[in-house]
């Protein structure tokens, strides 16, 4: 039996904010397990320092910042067009959706409104970003609980959506397509028909995921009743998106806010909620949301107005002084930008309200008393992207 001595100094302990004393004499109380920063289950470099008692978590503390890029500081020295490029990279799976609230906030400050066709194309790309992002979640949630196959189907079917986005914007992951006053380019010829065909494929994919995962008793056993978030706690922590709706709160910024900014006022869609608030509910709500998003894309393709795609804005964009906050219902949740301008080429301050920051802030509260496998299930069901947490 090898005896173990302290091999890390106190300053290292303070730096890592973790208990560094590793006791090999099978003392299960107070065993500290580091999940991450390199770990297949955390979507990126998130580290969770969990104190375990056997297989049960006593306390869990997420440590992040491994991907902190300092966007808010950078935004103070970048022009609005440059910030649009930066901002694409916050939630990299939800590509276009990151740019939209920022551009809308800047447009509000400038008093510019995008023409209808631009609004509709923005909404269209927004919803396609949602389909791509949450479609991947459906497959990858299976991966978290051990089913390896659905993830492959998700990646395969997501490629169709990314091809369409690439056909319009030129970029699969970082389109950088939104401009103050409109969008950069118009839709290519034949794109609308192809997109509708792709949406049919995505609906088939959703049905496949429903059969594979929702129908599996093992999946239900792993997800039902795990990580229940009561509605009031969800509101306090600012959970948004499907996480909030899965706890029973009927709040969707597409329907309840931002009237006139995007094309949702003229569209017909249902907001899905689920009363349970557990991981199963979050998966279920997201599945329905993807289906609903495909229907929205169909409606947008059918009703696309004609006209210009860019309003008249000066060539050198100086945004008048003021403050504006616009948040939209992004795939991950509510993403908002609080833009403060003092009449310059660059904003004075941009506060980025990212959905995953709030979604993950609930984990210390939520992970008390769960088993180690449930940590993975809960993190998977909350669905965060590291770039969104760390900005």
């Amino acid at each position: 039996m090898t005896a173990v001595t302290d091999r890390q100094k106190l300053s290292y302990i303070a730096q890592q904010a973790a208990d560094a004393r590793i006791n090999v004499e099978l003392e299960t109380e107070g065993m500290t397990l580091n999940l991450g920063p390199q770990h297949p289950a955390t979507h990126g470099t998130l580290r969770i320092v969990a104190r375990l008692d056997g297989e049960q978590v006593v306390s869990a503390d997420p440590v992040m910042g491994y991907m902190h890029r300092g966007y808010e500081k950078l935004a103070e020295v970048r022009t609005y067009a440059q910030i649009t490029t930066l901002v694409n990279r916050i939630d990299w799976l939800g590509s276009f959706a990151n740019e939209v609230p920022f551009i809308l906030a800047a447009e509000r400050l400038m008093g510019v409104e995008a023409p209808p066709r631009a609004k509709w194309i923005r909404t269209l790309l927004f919803e396609m970003a949602r389909v791509a992002n949450i479609g991947l979640f459906l497959g990858e949630m299976g991966l978290q609980v051990g089913a390896v196959t659905p993830a492959f189907y998700a990646f395969r079917d997501r490629e169709f959506v990314l091809n369409q986005i690439e056909a319009v914007t030129g970029g699969r992951f970082h389109p950088n397509f939104d401009r103050i006053g409109g969008i950069k380019d118009d839709l290519p010829k034949g794109w609308i028909e192809e997109t509708k065909a792709v949406m049919v494929k995505m609906r088939d994919f959703c049905d496949e995921m429903e059969d594979l995962l929702l129908g599996s008793e093992i999946f239900a056993a792993r997800c039902r009743g795990i990580g229940v978030i009561p509605p009031d706690v969800a509101l306090q922590y600012g959970l948004s998106g499907a996480n909030l709706r899965a706890s029973g709160i009927d709040w969707d910024l597409r329907r309840d806010g931002n009237h006139g900014l995007l094309a949702y006022d003229e569209l017909d869609f249902k907001v899905w909620t689920h009363p349970d608030g557990d991981s199963f509910a979050r998966f279920w709500v997201r599945l329905q949301e993807v289906r609903e998003a495909t229907k929205l894309v169909d409606q947008l393709c059918d009703g696309m107005p004609s006209g210009s795609i860019q309003a008249k804005v000066p060539r050198i964009i100086k945004v008048p002084a003021g403050e504006a906050f616009v948040s939209t219902e992004n795939p991950l949740g509510e993403m908002g930008y609080y833009v403060i301008s003092t009449g310059d080429l660059v904003p004075f301050r941009v506060k980025i309200r990212s959905a995953s920051f709030n979604n993950v802030s609930i984990t210390p509260w939520l992970l008390r008393g769960v088993y180690v496998p449930d940590i993975i299930t809960i993190l998977g069901s909350l669905y965060f992207i590291l770039g969104d947490i760390d900005r």
């Binding site: 500290t32 397990l33 609980v145 089913a147 995962l213 999946f219 792993r222 088993y371």
Partner: protein, 342 residues
Amino acid sequence: MLALHLAYWQETILRLVIGLAALLGLTGAVVYLYLFKFVSFMQSRLGPMEAGPYGSLQLLAEVGKWLQKEDVFTERADRFVFAASPFVVILSTFLLFVVVPAGPTDEVAHMSNSLLYALAVSAISVIGILMAGWASANKYALLGGLRAAGQLVAYELPMVLAVIGVVISAGSLNLQHIVAAQSTGHVFGWSGIGNPYILTQFTGFLIFLIAMQAELTQTPFDMPVAESELVAGYMVEYTGIRFLVYFIAEFATAIGFSAIAATLFLGGWGLPASWGIGHEAMHVVGPIVISAKTVLLTGVVFWVRFSFPRFREDQLQRLAWKFLIPLALGNIVVTACLKVAF
């Protein structure tokens, strides 16, 4: 048959070599067929295509890759235990395989109670896994090893109890006698296909399959190796030849258990006696038959593996103790009653 008269030690070596070759050959075939190709097609991709035609030599490439890796020991690992544990696991597999009959007298070791021996020896792998989990000095490995210990011990019981039904039906613990009983038996008076116990012991067969899946730590029972949590669990600190031995052990054990299951439930090397294939021919046909049945059952194991999510540890234990064991006990009672009655 062959008019060779070998000394005992020569015959032993010959049998061991042939047995080893058979095991490794079957393992290689199964790895290629199921792990490289079957799962790839299920996941809408092609799998290895480069090494050899359609990637058939990929296994050789993998073996070569693992062999040339550096043999790493973590700093605080218990060196002897860490080094020995893969070999303990694969030892249990070889020991299991020596009693699998491939023909009328063709097993590596003749034993009168071969089934009892097989079930006993298959439990040695638990020790190897615990050794790995402990000696790695890694919390993930420890968690994996402890989970494995609980799971493997728990699922030994349904396996043994399911097999008892077969023993009662055949009236013997000897695997050769069980094969003979299936081959010459009859189902409700009709001996067209003999009496493979998959038909009359269907419950036992299902319980054995589920328990086998758990003994192999395959999904849905792969908590010890839960890849998305523990990143290879008790094997996480292993690399090089030791990891290769674990890799081989995983598939070789699948072959071993499937061979036992094929012998117990599908009729082993035997074809139904009513088909009238001569005793001498079975020395040649037998190995082919048992190989086919083994590979078939292994296919079922891997098919399930790549389809389902995994159980959590406590749900897994609940399934074993509260569901499978009572079911297996009930199966024994029913079989005994029916055996006495008919």
